[in-house]
């Protein structure tokens, strides 16, 4: 049945997260961007919301709520309305947790899920992106070579979120022509972790570059054990999540541009009263809506366990294009002020461009 109806609980979550985004996230965004540091206090506060552990089964230390990619998409839109970098920092460990919860072996669940259900912020994250020209997440250069009961992994991963502190990485790699994901411990021999590149946007998010030089992991560290895992599904989940973040960013731009355009006068009229501006704002609204419904469609297919590769690709690519366009138009509506760091629009413009090239990182 086609329905856009949010559950009552989802409405409550949305409202609560919006409040958090408004009171906590947004005020920290600029400071984190300028200092290129995440706020530890923010991580602690967001951890208390249970963003990572709520949907983990109780036997592994979570709250046992139903896994809901739709609820997560709603949460991400609200958090990212506050700030995309902080949103990703808060939920990056959830992507690792969901990968294990959805596709891990029983032993993997018992070993790793409790790590992410403690009292304090803890990170284990996905390592998907690679610093190569025309990177394609489905054709990584990182290779896992089977060797007896073990795998030998070599390659480079970049833009690994919270890589400065993550205890474990879920490394996407090629394995005999197929795709797999491997759990690699921070202390593994052959793994060197350096501070990530300094990037255009999302500066508040700590990222790391991982160099894996013949890192040996036991066979049991292959996600899903002997049968492996569905990496496409993991990518679908991350694409829906990134798209949800883009929708939140788009909405932030629109909601900032609207009052600005009403306040700003030129030629004896608010600029919003001119069609050139008013139509831009209308288009920003149209594309924010359209992107959101594509995200919901992908999230709902993920929630129902049906193939979602097409809808997740559409959501991700459509939302990426439109969020970049919306942020770009936001700068234009603000004119010179859009270029000044006193306003958040230039930050959103950089974040949108940055988000548009990411894969992995987070998940619904």
């Amino acid at each position: 049945m086609i329905s856009f109806k949010l559950e009552e609980e989802q409405e409550i979550v949305r409202e609560a997260l919006h409040g958090f985004a408004e009171e906590v996230v947004r005020p920290l965004a600029r400071e984190c961007d300028e200092s290129e540091k995440i706020s530890e206090e923010f991580l602690a506060q967001s951890w208390e919301l249970g963003l990572v552990s709520t949907q983990i089964p109780t036997e592994y230390g979570g709250a046992g709520e139903t896994r809901s990619p739709i609820t997560n998409a709603i949460i991400l839109e609200e958090l990212a309305w506050g700030d995309a970098a902080l949103a990703v920092a808060a939920v990056a460990p959830a992507a690792f947790a969901y990968a294990i919860a959805d596709q891990g072996t029983e032993a993997q669940k018992q070993t790793y899920l409790p790590l992410l259900c403690g009292e304090q912020y803890a990170a284990a994250v996905l390592a998907v992106c690679e610093p190569t020209v025309s990177f394609d997440a489905t054709i990584p250069r990182t290779v896992a070579e089977p060797k007896g009961d073990e795998f030998v992994i070599s390659g480079v991963k970049c833009f690994v979120p919270m890589g400065d502190r993550a205890s474990h990485f879920l490394v996407f790699a090629r394995n005999n022509g197929g795709l797999d994901a491997f759990i690699v411990e921070r202390g593994a021999e052959g793994l060197s972790i350096s501070d990530g590149e300094k990037n255009l946007g999302m500066r508040g998010l700590p990222t790391a570059t991982l160099e894996l030089e013949r890192v040996v992991v036991p066979g049991v560290n292959r996600l899903g054990g002997e049968s492996g895992c569905d990496v496409q599904r993991l990518l679908d989940g991350s694409r829906a999540a990134l798209a949800a973040v883009m929708v939140g960013l788009s909405r932030a731009v629109l909601e900032y541009a609207v009052p600005y355009a009403k306040d700003r006068h030129a030629f004896d009229q608010a600029i919003a009263q001119k069609q050139g501006i008013a139509f831009k704002l209308a288009d920003m609204r149209i594309e924010t809506d359209a992107s959101r419904w594509l995200v919901w469609k992908a999230a709902s297919q993920l929630e129902q366990g049906i193939p979602a590769a097409r809808s997740a690709q559409f959501a991700r690519e459509y939302a990426a294009e439109k969020s970049m366009w919306i942020a770009d138009q936001g700068v234009q509506v603000l004119g010179g002020h859009g270029f000044i760091r006193e306003h958040p629009v230039e930050l959103w413009y950089r974040s949108a461009r940055t988000l548009g090239v990411l894969e992995g990182t987070i998940s619904v």
Partner: protein, 390 residues
């Protein structure tokens, strides 16, 4: 619960629509090239075939709600052809106005008629407050004078909901709508318009010359001119909250047809179309095709959203405009893009793609142009009145 999957009953109905569409499509080219003819009210193939609308009875709460479902049905029908139907349904835009604004007596009297709606004039379209057609009360009759163009279902309807002013100095507030039955002296159907696309569609021009109708034919029955706001006008404008998503759905059906045709051609030519990979590995032509597909899907989602809100009894004024504006632009890009992908084959009249390209162009014009939709969306975003943003 948020859900975009169809139930078995939904699927059965849409499969039946698809079957009918494939039959209707066989006649599409003929009526495009013979625009002076109308497709029959009922195709020969309709005999013994259950109507799709009959299948809509007996659905339960778990099935997609009716308004939302009707968007999918509309899109499914125009996937076959814009104008050719297995059976032509009763009712037109005027019937929607009658339902929205008519008194119980008027609904009783004309509910069974097919009523077109005549708003546009040679000198006014998007700004109906400038309607020049006049209605003057003379005893117990209204006397109508003026010209109307672009009247959909104008030739084959039984009557028309006509917009006319009873007081030009009152602007919008003076605009009233009247039901005029065909055959009333002074009411002449001047011509069937010749068009870029949707050629088989019944689009007429009307002329009213001292046309006298009973006083009680004023839709809604209110003869007074409201001082400030335009309550009556708003009532009629409300008609658009479902018709805008509907015409968007009609457009998207043809865009889907264009995409399906293009996909078949690509696959036949050996292109593999897969999903889930990164964009860098795709051939440019597949990249382009999938972008158009995503655009089509995004548009359809905005249509479903607007219709679903209406089904829930919620305000959908802005969303109706969102889906209309989005789709009006998208269907053009999609059909233009499909032709681009197929090259010279795309412009050949041997195939229907060039026809869909012409047919969808109206989507961004009728039921309010894309610019009008953006105006409505912007006013709602900014909290502006018509006066503050125009």
């Amino acid at each position: 619960m948020i859900d975009f999957e169809l139930t078995e009953s939904d699927k059965a109905i849409l499969a039946a629509v698809r079957e009918e569409s494939l039959i209707c499509r066989k006649y599409a080219r003929y009526y495009d090239e013979n625009e002076h003819e109308f497709p029959p009210d009922e195709l020969e193939e309709a005999k013994g075939r259950r109507s799709v609308y009959e299948m809509l009875g007996g659905r339960d709460d778990l099935d997609t709600s009716l308004g939302t479902m009707s968007m999918l049905i509309s899109a499914g029908q125009t996937w076959g052809d814009y104008s050719v139907r297995m059976r032509r349904g009763k009712g037109a835009l005027g019937n929607a106005a009658l339902r929205a604004a008519g008194t119980p007596e008027q609904q009783e009297k004309w509910g069974g008629h097919t009523l077109s709606m005549a708003i546009t004039e040679p000198g006014c379209g998007s700004d109906p407050s400038k309607v020049q057609t006049t209605a003057v009360l003379d005893g117990d009759e209204w006397v109508l004078n003026g010209e109307k163009i672009f009247v959909t279902t104008g030739c084959r309807c039984d009557g028309v909901v006509l917009w006319a002013t009873i007081d030009k100095s009152a602007g919008r507030a003076g605009i009233k709508s009247f039901v005029v039955e065909k055959g009333t002296p002074g009411f002449v159907v001047a011509q069937k318009e010749k068009k870029l696309g949707i050629r088989a569609d019944d689009t007429a021009a009307y002329v009213f010359t001292d046309c006298r109708i009973p006083r009680e034919n004023l839709l809604g029955g209110k003869e007074d001119i409201p001082k400030q706001s335009s309550g009556g006008f708003k009532g009629v404008m409300k008609t658009f909250n479902m018709t805008r998503p509907s015409v968007a759905a009609i457009g998207i059906g043809m865009a889907e047809a264009a995409l399906d045709f293009t996909r078949d051609c690509l696959q036949e030519a050996g292109f593999e179309i897969t999903y889930g990979g990164g964009s860098h590995g795709r051939p440019a032509v597949i990249e382009k095709f999938q972008k158009l597909e995503a655009l089509c899907e995004a548009s359809m989602m905005t249509i479903l959203r607007a219709a679903w809100l209406s089904d829930q009894g919620q305000e959908n004024n802005t969303e109706a405009s969102v889906c209309k504006a989005k789709t009006g632009q998208a269907v053009r890009e999609i059909t233009q893009g499909c032709i681009e992908i197929l090259g010279p084959m795309g412009i050949s009249r041997e195939h229907l793609l060039e026809k869909w390209f012409r047919d969808v162009r109206i989507t961004d014009i009728y039921e309010g142009t894309g610019e009008i939709q953006r105006m409505i969306i912007a006013r709602s975003l900014l909290g502006y009145t018509r006066k503050e943003l125009n």
